[in-house]
């Protein structure tokens, strides 16, 4: 049997879904976390039914008439797929609005079970509900639930009610469908009656001791966190804390320990392969697979700490307040305050970040957000940042911080350019967002989310990254005649042959060697590959513990092997961070933009940005340190000038379009 989970945004549908299926889908304390339907099987111990119960988690909706695209998924599903039972999750503290949607669901002729969720908060809010009377008035079972609670949270009772409701004839206490709906006005008149009907029920079943319209503690907290002047520094401080814990304190500490284990494994495997194995196979297994994958996996602790902290942040209700604070600034650059949420999520991983943009109603704002979100350095780019700041800048914390600020600066400039190119600089859009209650973030759920991310990361390292490293190692070992390349003749290898033409383009950026070009190319498959490929092409296995490396072969070995100046290293970092993200993220961008022209423009824009940023960094850095421009200054300058010229031309064209529109509307 099939059961659909429906309800208002942020009523706890996915939390309930996770609780009854044991899955770990993304949850967060703001409206619009779920943007796609997800299926799962209800745990057997929660019900007596012989056949399995499939439950479908749907994005939140306020009514059957959709406003944003993810809301339409919900109404389409319950109308077309005819589930056996609908579970309507209702925020117990907000019946007056939630039951509007309930009455619409009751009209579909499908049995409905109402789950009064967050019922643990009723007492705190001074609300007493008469559940029996509510069930009688609605004509369907009503069960109190606490989706975040452990045992005794009403889940068994809910599933019993669902099994019992199957096949039952559902009658609607308020039937709007039977009335004449000739036009918009008539429809609205019916819906007004619907709200009046809901109000009547709520007046009967709800007893309130505290008025919810007055000022509460929430408002006092809001006054500080969303203060016009304090709001922004507080946000900066929160994000800085997240990154400094994950990247300079706890993360690297754990990574050191972890890398020690990987090193022991390498030594153990080396001993095992000592005799009777061909040196080529040995190199592929040891340097290609264990070395390359190990270099990437070594950064796992950093990423886990980052995801843990982001999960806490998403759970406490702060995200919507950041949107409130940022709206003022983002409006000025043609985005919505809501655009900040995809960007914060994007610091973990760009894919869910890009998908989170779906709740933005305005099409251009949504597409621009999708285009700019990957500029936030994501978890997979962390290893690249950590590696370069460790090797070239003596673990300076400013390198990581600088990358985030450059990312933010590019987002601001990018948004300004896009709004002008599209000719919509005078178009205004409205901002409306429901503010959820603050709550204490759950350590348990953050841990669950962290381990789920860690698992995904290990799977990726064991599949795509392992494969890429093996291929890179093989391509590096053999030349075009499939002979093993001799020592000192590495430039004749297949890998060098493929990467060298690209390396030519990179000369003005300061890193025109085939090794670095190869790493940048594999970076498009997955950003973790940059570190993996560098480990393979330079035969370095331990990137994190540079001190240990120093003991082996001199203080600046890694830097020397790569042959990069500090300016070129920083430029390489910029190039990897600000060119298009990995293939998976590009796929997500394609899905959310729904327009090939936008996708192509976004990729071109990202590629241009990476190139221009790297050029500026390398050339100005070289000029400052040596007093002369770096190699390939002139050809690079021509390319950069062409890029900037094209943008300026497009902006001018867009501005003319905007001016024309203004004339038309006046």
């Amino acid at each position: 049997m099939k059961v659909a989970l429906t309800g208002n945004p942020n009523s706890g549908k996915t939390t309930l879904f996770n609780a009854i299926t044991g899955r770990v889908e993304r949850v967060g304390n703001w409206p619009g976390v779920t943007i796609e339907k997800k299926e799962g099987v209800v745990k057997q111990r929660l019900h007596q039914e012989k056949n399995e119960i499939i439950v479908v988690d749907l994005p939140g909706a306020y009514s059957m008439s959709p406003f944003t695209s993810e809301e339409s998924i919900t109404s389409d599903f319950v109308k077309n797929e005819k589930p056996d039972v609908i579970i309507n999750i209702v925020d117990a503290a907000n019946l007056r609005r939630s039951l509007f949607f309930t009455t619409q669901l009751l009209e579909l002729g499908i049995p409905v079970v109402v789950a009064l969720n967050k019922s643990d908060l009723l007492k705190k809010k001074g609300i007493v509900l008469n559940v029996e009377l509510l069930a009688k008035r609605l004509g369907c079972p009503v069960v109190k639930t606490i989706a975040t609670g452990g045992s005794n949270s009403g889940l068994k009772e809910l599933m019993a009610a669902v099994v019992g409701a199957k096949g039952r004839q559902q009658t609607a206490p308020f039937n709007g469908a039977g009335m004449q709906l000739t036009d918009q006005e008539a429809e609205r008149a019916v819906d007004k009656k619907r709200f009046a009907f809901v109000d009547k029920i709520v007046d009967e079943v709800e007893e309130k001791k505290i008025s919810s319209n007055g000022q509460t503690k929430q408002d006092a907290v809001d006054k500080i966190l969303a203060h016009p002047w304090l709001g922004l520094p507080i946000f900066a401080l929160v994000m800085w804390t997240v990154f400094s814990i994950s990247q300079t304190h706890l993360g690297p500490f754990l990574a050191d320990v972890f890398v020690g284990w990987i090193d022991s494994f390498y030594v153990w495997a080396e001993g095992l392969l000592a005799a009777g194995v061909s040196p080529v196979l040995r190199a592929i297994l040891l340097d290609g697979i264990i070395g390359g994958v190990g270099a990437v996996v070594g950064f796992l602790p950093l990423i886990m700490v980052l995801f843990f902290l982001l999960a806490l942040l998403e759970d406490c209700g702060y995200m919507t307040r950041v949107a409130v604070v940022m709206d003022r600034f983002f409006k000025r650059i043609g985005l919505s305050g809501k655009s900040i949420i995809p960007m914060i999520i994007g610091t973990g991983c760009a894919i869910p970040g890009v998908m989170a943009a779906r709740t933005i109603k305005n099409e251009r704002q949504r597409r621009t957000t999708v285009m700019l979100t990957p500029f936030m350095p994501c978890g997979a780019k962390l290893p690249v940042i950590a590696l370069f700041s460790g090797v070239f800048f003596n673990h300076a914390a400013w390198v990581g911080t600088l990358m985030y600020f450059v990312g933010i600066a590019i987002i601001v400039i990018g948004a300004l350019i896009v709004v002008r190119i599209t000719g919509e600089k005078n178009v205004r859009s409205v901002f409306i967002l429901e503010l959820p209650d603050y709550k204490f973030p759950s350590i348990k759920r953050a841990a669950v989310s962290m381990f789920a991310k860690a698992k995904a990361f290990i799977i990726k390292a064991g599949t795509i990254i392992l494969l890429c490293n093996a291929v890179v190692q093989i391509m590096q070992t053999f030349n075009w005649q499939f002979q093993v390349v001799a020592e000192g003749a590495e430039h004749t290898s297949i890998l060098a042959g493929i990467a060298s033409p690209f390396a030519l383009l990179l000369i003005p950026l300061g890193f025109g060697t085939w090794q670095l070009a190869a790493a940048a190319i594999t970076g498009f498959i997955a950003k973790e590959n940059v570190v993996g490929t560098l480990a393979v092409v330079y035969s370095i296995t331990n990137f994190i513990d540079v001190e240990e490396f120093a003991l082996v072969g001199g203080a600046t070995t890694v830097a020397e092997v790569m042959g990069l100046t500090s300016a070129a290293a920083l430029a390489y970092l910029m190039f990897n961070l600000f060119t298009p993200p990995c293939f998976a993220a590009i796929g997500a961008m394609n899905a959310e933009m729904e327009n090939k022209k936008w996708l192509a423009s976004a990729l071109l824009f990202q590629l241009s940005t990476g190139y221009v940023m790297a050029f500026i960094t390398y050339q100005s850095g070289t000029f400052l340190t040596t007093g002369a421009p770096g190699t390939g200054f002139l050809p690079g300058l021509i390319v950069v000038a062409a890029i900037i010229g094209t943008m300026a031309y497009l902006v001018r064209k867009g501005n003319q379009k905007a001016a024309k529109k203004l004339v038309l509307t006046v």
């Binding site: 306020y62 007056r96 949607f101 919810s212 408002d219 969303a226 409130v324 003022r328 503010l435």
Partner: protein
């Protein structure tokens, strides 16, 4: 409508923490109007302005709180 009542004000101009009755939602965007309707924000319903944060207006409608921007607050006439 009574003629001598004081001039209608938008939500952007009202006092904090006082319950008002929505008189009109003034927008050409039918879709937005419908959306506000499903939240219970339409003429005849009660609304309270809770605070003004960073240029945005925090309003309470039907026991839920929303953040709306100045433009939208100005479209809601009480």
């Amino acid at each position: 409508m009574k003629r001598n009542e004081k001039a209608a004000a938008s939500l952007a101009e009202v006092q904090l923490n006082r319950e008002y009755v929505i008189h009109e939602v003034r927008t050409n965007d039918e879709e937005l109007k419908n959306f506000l309707f499903t939240l219970g924000c339409y003429e005849g319903e009660k609304v309270t302005l809770l605070s003004v944060l960073s240029g945005n207006y925090i309003i309470s409608v039907k026991d839920a709180r929303y953040c709306v921007d100045k433009e939208l607050a100005e479209a809601i006439i009480v």
